[in-house]
Amino acid sequence: MSAPSPNPRLEWQKAFGESRLRDAPFQTMSGIPLEPVYGPDDGEFPGAYPYTRGPYASMYRSKLWTMRMFAGFGTAIDTNLRFKEIIRAGGDGLSTAFDMPTLLGLDSDDPMALGEVGRCGVAIDTLADMRDLFSGIDLGNITTSMTINSPAAVLLAMFVAQAESAGVPRAKLGGTLQNDILKEFQAQKEFVFPPRQSMRLVRDTVAFTAAEMPRWHSISISGYHIREAGSTAAEELAFTLGNGFAYVELARQAGLPVDAFAPRLSFFFNAHIDFFEEIAKYRAARRIWARWMRERYGATSERSMQLRFHTQTAGVSLTAQQPEVNLIRTAIEALAGVLGGTQSLHTNSMDEALALPTEKAARLALRTQQVIAYETNVAHVADPLGGSHFVETLTDEMEARAEEIFARIDEMGRGSMLEGCITGIEENWFQGRIADSAYELERAFNRGERIIVGVNRFLEGNEEDSLDILKITNEDEAKQRQRLGQVKHERNEPAVLDALDRLAKDAVDPEVNLMPALIDASNVFATVGEMMTTMAGVFGRHVEVPTI
């Protein structure tokens, strides 16, 4: 297995021949037939270790990337309508954005939730909201991604409870839980419990899904937020994969064999505006993951070594000035994701430097992907930039820079990436590096070395401020509180108390998996806030030391 194949092209041809292909004419506009991949016979091929050129032999010839548009705002009923619009418009995966209170495990009637309910995403308090969210959507047939971290186990439990009450067994559910708590401490900052206690919940969800939800991706290891918080591309790459190694070590410590859970790990990267650097980043990511999984963690299953990832275009690259220009930025970034071989893609809307997208802006963002997919022919050939002297060199450079950072994390953890990641968080190492890089970028902008169209150059047109943006009124907040009050009034209170009591008992014993208790609590309409508060009673709460 470790020796390179004597004939890489033959091996690839065999795998390609076994793939089912999409029905499309694989040729240029003027009729020149296109090979599925180009390169020397003894070179690297997609679908073969170390997967630099792609995880699958046939790549987009079998299946285009999933056009997965992130959506969520207001009440579950509002978001349900947006989901149905996405499905009608040809989107083929759902991705749920939760509001800030939900992300932090607070109910909509919590005093801290004031002004935030339904604003950045959908408000979910109980199973009743989860039912509204997916009403009329067949969860056995569409995959659902949930961007949730600190309360990930709680929302997964509610999702399972909802699906099962709608008649879809958990084993049939396909989708992804973000569940990447390490990057919350490093970058996104939506944390609740301290790092080590948080990792116990990650372990529980990984073990639970490995045993009971074979189609579910338990963690989406996310560089997106690390980059948005200001890291460089190399830091995004290294911190993300470093976190991935930490989760692998965590699950192995819990006694799971690496090939039992690693195939269900997926990744989530940013597509920023530096076109070739982004493509090199994705290529390096696949190669590094494959090598570490095989050599350091002893994976033998191909799927454990194949890095699959979701991409989102860079929110931070969007400007409030001349917002229509954001369509162009997003198109270029999306193209980098596709040329880099992404498995799914979210394109930001042009109005997102100002607010959540309007329906029209979100549709245009999806159209951007459809133009790339169906008009440009770029998806016909796998890894079309492979073999470019420039892109290969940049790929090697990204890999080398990432390896330097891994060495540092490993050193902090004295030979454990898991310990290194936690120590690095506790010592503010990741946070400090990200803040330094963000400041460096800002200074380059202020010195005029970094040009942003419409912001520090080409300002004509800035005075036109014509874009209609989505307004979310406080009515949604009031509606959601009322809804929560009603659910609490109608539920069986003793059953809720019993369920929370059991959750507290289970939480005390670190050997117990908390998922069954969370599903039971969800089924009796315990709220997200109640479950999180119960666990916080055992785990404590994390407070970040403020540093500039």
Binding site: E116, E190, V316, A353, L354, N456, V543, P546, I548
Partner: protein, 136 residues
Amino acid sequence: MAAIRVLVAKVGLDGHDRGVKVVARLLRDAGLEVIYTGLFQTPETVAAAAVDEDVDVIGLSMLSGAHMTLAPLVVQAVRARNSDIPVVVGGIIPNQDVTELLEAGVAACLGPGAPAEEVVQTVITAARGERRRQAV
């Protein structure tokens, strides 16, 4: 003349701290004395910290869309402590919200993409404006 003291703060549940940290460093490099509250503050804790630290100006960083609710509450909490420390709001603040925020007592707003110079000048102007009023 003593350095201007500024409290930069995050209120509510918004964890986006890239902006607040960049602005804190910009202000520090411009010679201001900067104190950062950390995340997840309430209008009350921000007002209390501002008064305790005797700052000249408060800079609120808001990216979650809750500015229309929370920024006026910060102003009110400061005024309730008999203080007229000015409050500058920066972040994802759509133009159409600015008038209402100013009417609610916010001293100035900084939208996305505001250059460093404008950020520093706005904060200094807000701080000095307040001092002049105190001197009258």
